[in-house]
Symmetry: C2
Subunit: 215 residues, 2 copies
């Protein structure tokens, strides 16, 4: 009645590594990088020694997890979602709902854990965040406000902060969901829509104000 003693599959090294990395990612995300190698192996149904056949140390495994989840190239949302014909807030919501969907519970928790432990992912992430999210948003605001586009006039630090504000508000809802585990009486799409409305109205005014005041 114990285990069916499944005839454990043997995988090519490259495939096994991916299985180990994904299994470790799940465990680290949930319980932290302090999870023991034995516990990792147990959850993945392999022996502890196998980990050391594929990774020289536990730290190397952690690095592999972070590499795969955060540094491997992946695509972003379509910036053209911001170009459409409708109202600005609707376009912002359509654009940013993509971000909320991509940010999985595991990734958010891993990102925070790694950051707390001094692995500086955010600095390596910055250019991608700028390119994929912040600049498209600022471009849309500029257009809507009838201001020069991004190529014509460089983005100031205060302007970038303006874009980060929406981003931060959305990240915080993800933290509430995946870290704080609070109940949500309002659905996520509704929250994104609400924030997009507030932001579209307020940010447009601020964008005009900044440019009128010469930053």
């Amino acid at each position: 009645m114990d285990e069916p003693a499944r005839p454990r599959r043997r995988l090519p090294s490259a495939e096994r590594q991916i299985v180990l990395i994904e299994g470790a990612a799940a465990a680290f995300a949930e319980d932290g990088f302090g999870v023991t190698t034995r516990e990792l192996a147990r959850r993945m149904g392999v022996t502890q020694a196998l980990l050391y056949k594929h990774f020289p140390s536990k730290d190397a495994l952690i690095d592999a997890v972070l590499e795969r989840r955060f540094l491997a190239e992946r695509s972003g949302p379509d910036p053209r979602l911001l170009d459409g014909p409708g109202a600005l807030d609707g376009r912002i919501a359509a654009f940013y709902i993509d971000f909320v969907n991509r940010a999985t519970r595991q990734n958010l928790r891993l990102f925070l854990r790694a950051s707390l432990d001094g692995v500086n992912l955010p600095v390596r992430y910055r250019s991608r965040l700028d390119q994929r999210y912040l600049m498209p948003i600022l471009g849309a605001l500029r257009r809507e406000a009838g201001l020069p586009n991004l190529e014509a006039l460089a983005v100031s630090p205060a302007e970038r902060e303006l874009a980060v504000m929406l981003h931060g508000a959305l990240v915080f809802t993800l933290i509430r969901r995946d870290v704080y585990r609070v109940a949500f009486p309002v659905s996520h799409p509704d929250i994104v829509a609400l924030q997009a409305r507030v932001y579209a109205a307020g940010a447009l005014a601020e964008m005009r104000r900044q440019h009128a005041a010469g930053d």
Copy 2:
């Protein structure tokens, strides 16, 4: 030339416990709850065994740290800051700058670490957050929008989310500062002021919209 071998002070139990809790808080905030009891003792300049004279286990010490930092009663900002005569955005900034000043690096990191590890501080925090920050903000918005006050008309979930939005945006700047450790080209008071401007304009419109639409 080594240590002056200071004649180590002997403290009454109650005082020593506070010293230990504060020392542990600093260590846990920086390096996580995985810090060993030996390392804790070393940093505080006492022996490892002393910890067990004052706390039955390492977990009990962790609990004491969280209790002292997050569950002990403390005051909030003055809600009257939101009543003043000036523009709404200036009043919101004055009110919320207090929050940014209270949230120390250690507390933010401890809070996140504990939350990631399943200690549900946010649920215990919720009522205090509502009372001290969210409801005062909503009250000010209601007044500014010429809507019924909070006693006259209950706060809907969507309305609460509206208040959480500003809160989240500000918490995210704290995370950038204390967890991500990014450089800030814009000063924190300036960021709070910027977010207050964006929010005051956008949230007021949203507040009116919600009430016109009957939520």
